[in-house]
Symmetry: C2
Subunit: 200 residues, 2 copies
Amino acid sequence: MDNQVCNGTSRIVGCRFSVHPMTEDFVSVILGALEEVDTSKVWMQTDDVSTCIRGRLPHVFDVTQAIFAQAAKTGHHVAFSGTYSVGCPGDTEGDVYMSEDDTKVNNSDIDQYAACDFALYPLGSDSYMDMIMEQVEAAKQRGLAVESIHYATKLRGEAKEIFATLEQAFTVTQEHNSHVVMTASISANSPSHKKETDNE
Amino acid sequence: MDNQVCNGTSRIVGCRFSVHPMTEDFVSVILGALEEVDTSKVWMQTDDVSTCIRGRLPHVFDVTQAIFAQAAKTGHHVAFSGTYSVGCPGDTEGDVYMSEDDTKVNNSDIDQYAACDFALYPLGSDSYMDMIMEQVEAAKQRGLAVESIHYATKLRGEAKEIFATLEQAFTVTQEHNSHVVMTASISANSPSHKKETDNE
C-alpha cells in the first residue's frame, strides 16, 4: 500500500450510504429527497443496499448532508448510515468529477435536530486517538453535545453542525493520512431522542 | 498503540448497530425482535441512534444475526447497519461476559434472502487486500453471489450464509491483527433486490 501523504482535496473521496425512512412509504421519501438534491458534481450509483457517491470532498459532504436533510424534512423518523473513504487502494473511476470547483450547490441549512454516532479510522496510523480528541473539541465549539461511547463518538444537536463536524474531522485527518475511513450513523425525528433541552 | 497479535476469541469483541424497519410500526418490530433473541451472553446498551453489544466473538455474531433474522421475519423491508470491532484502544468494560462458553444460544436458521455490503479494515496492516480476497472466495463456496463494489464487497444470498461469511472474515482477520473493524449493511425484503434467480 502506498503510504505517502497525499495533497488534501485533490484526491477522490467517496461515501457509500443508505437512507432509511421508518415508513411504509420509504420509496417516495427516498426518491423525493433525491429529486430535491443537486447531485451534478458527484458520480453516483444506487443498488439494492446502498448508494455510492464519489467526487471532491466538499461535494461528497454537500450531497450526503442534503439527502439526509431532505429526507428528515418529511418528519418521518429517518436514519442515515454511511462510510466516507479516501485513499482506498484501486479507487480510480469517476475522476472526471475531480475538475469541479469548490462551490457547494445544495443549501441544507434547515433547522433539524439530529443525533450521530461517528468513528474515524486513519488506516496505518497509530496516533489517531489524538486526532479524534481534537475533533471532539471542535464539535463542542459548534454547540454540539459530545459523548464518548464504545467504538464511536456521539454528537447531538443541529444536523448542519453535525455534518460540519464530520466534514472537518474527515478533512483534517485525510491531510495527514493516505487512507482514511469514517463511519457515521445519523438519526432524525426519533421518538427516543433525548435532547439536551429535555433536562432544562 | 499495542500492535501485538492477540489470541483469537479470548478478546472482547463489540458491535455497534442499528436495525431499521421501513414501517411506521418500527418500534414494535424492533422490540418484538429483541424479545425473541437471547442476549444473556453479551453486554448490551441501546440509545437513540444505535445498540452496542459486547462479549465473545461467537455471541456478538449470534446476537446480531438473530436480531436481523427476527426483524426480517416480519416481512417488512428491514436494514441492518453495524460496525464490528476488536482491539479498540481502551476497550475494557463488560469483561464479565468473557467467561461465557462458545455455545450460541440463538437459532437463526430461517430461510431469508438478503443482500449485504461489507468492508473489512485491519488497522495498521498493509496486506489486507489479500485477506479480503480470501474471504471473497470463501463466500462463493457458501453459494453467495459476490461482487466487488466501490469501498465494499457485496454478498447476495441466504442471510445465514452472509452472517457465516462475516463471522469467518472477522475471525480470521483478527487472528492476525490487533485492531480490526468491519462494517456491514444488510438489507432484507427490499423491493429493489435483484435476486440471482431473476436471471434464470
